[in-house]
């Protein structure tokens, strides 16, 4: 159901309910008022008749009942009926139109059914003359009076009601206009447009919606920008070595002296190695981002040995010592590809930034509730202000030469996140220390 229809129904029903209760109230109070006034009139009329009898202005004798002319009142003359009864129970006088049956038995006010019609009666004893005077009117008259008043009130309302409903419908529509504007603004947007919605003077209720939408747009835009940056960076990082290869190949082709040619050929070999590593890292990254690999139970000591073996060539080439130490670390339950990528890139990174003859230490140790892998090198270290940025894809530190791809630490970070762990940067006594904290997780028996 649309908000407009909903609000319309709520408002019209509420209005109707208020009107209804008002009508009931008016009905009740009018009835009370009418009763009070007419009762007073009955009593007045009865007393007047009684005093007229006492003054002998109305003859009450034996024989046929006298006809009493009631006090002239244009509205009520025909509606009031009067009877005079002797104490013995004979009707001694009656107004024209008064019923034959006795109007009341008790003195004072009473309600009697006569010929199936309810009457309101006031009876007074005239002890001096030994008569009872009764004046009454039909309840129907009173009801008619009250319903006349209420109807007089309700009819205009009934006429007004459709007009009011139309007004409510239009007003609700106007009231919801900001929502409609927001909807129109959203509908008119280009699907690629992730700009925040303009900061118009929204009503207070719309503002949180707009803020929420803008924050969503912002996050989407961020994701898309990251993806776009990633493609741009990947293109740059893959095509630059190709350009270098082509350049060096052309130099090798046309160089006249052997020294220039050998230099170009060596550069080609370096470039191929670096491109190979870059492609492998991109594949790692894709695997970490998108592949679902089952977790398995891994022995940290074996894992470290594998990593050390894999990095051996690089370490020897860079003249860096690689030490591994597994201090009775618990069994790790994680996807093999993730932990291997994380550690391999950390270690490669550490070797790359180590001075010649330096040492890279990799340890696995127990930590409360999990496992910690620490990689420490003796290099320059990462500038503390760069800690937040080193895990960005393709970001290279300001202190490094252009050797790396800028992907290593972002691969580690992505893999660690996938494993539910955390990556930390610390200062080693001499160099950089980076550690990975992992939950040991559910280990199968």
């Amino acid at each position: 159901m649309s908000i407009r229809l909903r609000l319309f129904l709520i408002l019209t029903l509420a209005t109707s309910a208020i009107w209804l209760s008002a009508a009931l109230w008016i009905n009740g109070s009018t009835r009370a008022q009418v009763e009070r006034v007419l009762d007073a009139r009955l009593a007045e009329a009865a007393n007047m008749v009684s005093s007229l009898i006492s003054d002998q202005r109305i003859a009450v004798a034996g024989g046929p009942p006298a006809t009493i002319s009631m006090p002239a009142d244009p509205d009520y003359s025909r509606q009031l009926s009067c009877q005079i009864w002797s104490l013995r129970g004979d009707l001694v006088g009656a107004s024209s139109g008064a019923p034959g049956a006795q109007l009341a038995v008790e003195e004072g006010f009473s309600t009697t059914m006569i010929d199936g019609v309810p009457w309101r009666v006031y009876a007074v004893h005239n002890d001096a003359l030994g008569v009872r005077v009764m004046v009454g009117d039909r309840m129907q008259v009173r009801d008619r009076l009250v319903s006349g008043v209420v109807a007089g009130l309700l009819w205009p309302l009934a006429v007004i009601f459709p007009a009011l409903a139309v007004l409510i419908w239009i007003s609700v529509g106007r009231g919801l206009a900001p929502l409609a504007q927001l909807e129109a603004a959203l509908r008119a947007r280009n699907p690629d447009d992730l700009q925040p919605l303009p900061d118009t003077r929204d009503p207070r209720e719309i503002r949180p919606v707009r803020r929420a939408l803008n924050s969503l747009f912002g996050r989407l835009d961020q994701v898309r920008r990251t993806e776009r940056d990633f493609t741009a960076f990947a293109a740059h990082e893959l095509k630059t070595p190709l350009a270098g290869l082509r350049m060096q190949a052309q130099i090798a082709q046309r160089a006249t002296d052997p020294a220039t040619r050998d230099r170009a050929l060596a550069a080609i070999a370096t470039s191929v190695d670096r491109s190979d590593r870059m492609v492998r890292q991109l594949l790692d990254l894709a695997a970490i981002d998108h592949e679902a690999t089952p977790a398995e139970n891994l022995d940290p000591a074996t894992l470290l040995a594998e990593i050390a073996q894999g990095a051996d060539m690089q370490a020897v080439g860079a003249r860096v010592h690689l030490l591994t130490r597994a201090e009775d670390a618990p069994v790790l339950h994680a996807p093999r590809v993730l932990i291997q990528s994380a550690l391999r890139n950390l270690v490669e990174n550490a070797i790359q930034h180590s001075p010649c003859g330096g040492t890279v230490t990799v340890t696995a140790s127990t930590r409360s509730g999990g496992l910690r892998f620490t990689v420490t090198d003796q290099g320059q270290g990462i500038a503390p202000e760069d800690h937040a940025r080193v895990t960005e894809r393709f970001w290279r530190g300001t202190r490094t030469s252009a050797q790396g791809s800028g992907l290593g630490l972002s691969i580690t970070a992505a893999a660690v996140t996938r494993m539910g762990g955390s990556l930390h940067f610390g200062q080693a006594r001499k160099g950089q220390s980076i550690w990975i904290d992992l939950p040991s997780g559910p280990s199968a028996p």
Partner: protein, 220 residues
């Protein structure tokens, strides 16, 4: 002709320096925007080869800065993404030309020569002066149809002088054209090359302006 190469990849940067050197240019490589700014402040270059993506920012930022400060040096952008939109962005940022990686060394050299020719307001690729024809692409020179045998440095000095006949070039300016940063400048080397040139062309062709420098004699 001295070029500034702004490229952070060591292999490509080295390839550009050596390869453009083979094509008759003198190339000075830098790897960051900061170094490029410093180089532009300190030295005079005939043109610049600029990578779009550098470790400390975008090449187009430097380009926009240069253009904003009124520097009209010809700039060729190198970029990984060779899509139409990228090209438009690069050219709109003030680039004179644009090459997508990977590219051909000869094409790069030809584009650089064309850029510099346009910069000097010439349409023809060949330079003519007093019967001497100079072909900067082939690095060859002829006099009255007879090939002149010139060394690379002699060619560069002759090229510099007849680019603007009548304009006086100081020894320092000529040295800048001849040597990059990595090369040691031997003292009086310019004099030696000029001496050789005069021997091949005739004494009167290159005039010495005492205390100022050299100039190519006469009209084209």
């Amino acid at each position: 002709m001295r070029l500034l190469i702004v490229e952070d990849d060591p292999v490509l940067s080295d390839g550009l320096s050596v390869g453009l050197g083979l094509s008759g240019f003198t190339a000075d490589p830098v790897g960051t925007l900061a170094d490029a700014r410093a180089a532009l402040r300190d030295s005079d270059f005939a043109a610049m080869v600029l990578d779009v993506m550098l470790p400390d920012g975008m090449g187009t930022t430097l380009l926009a800065e240069m253009r904003a400060s009124g520097n009209t040096m010809p700039v060729l952008l190198l970029t990984a993404r060779d899509r139409v939109r990228d090209r438009i962005e690069g050219l709109d940022a003030g680039a004179d030309d644009y090459l997508g990686k990977p590219f051909d060394l000869d094409e790069l050299a030809a584009r650089l020569r064309a850029m510099m020719r346009r910069d000097q307001g010439r349409a023809s690729a060949l330079l003519h002066w007093n019967g001497v024809d100079l072909d900067p692409a082939a690095l060859t020179a002829t006099r009255d149809g007879v090939a002149l045998r010139l060394s690379r440095r002699e060619f560069a000095i002759l090229h510099a002088l007849i680019e603007n006949p009548g304009r006086i070039l100081s020894r320092g300016q000529l040295e800048e054209r001849l040597y990059g940063w990595q090369e040691d400048v031997e003292s009086n080397t310019v004099e030696v090359h000029v001496h050789h040139l005069r021997a091949k062309l005739g004494r009167e062709m290159i005039q010495t302006v005492r205390g100022v420098g050299y100039r190519a004699a006469g009209a084209t």
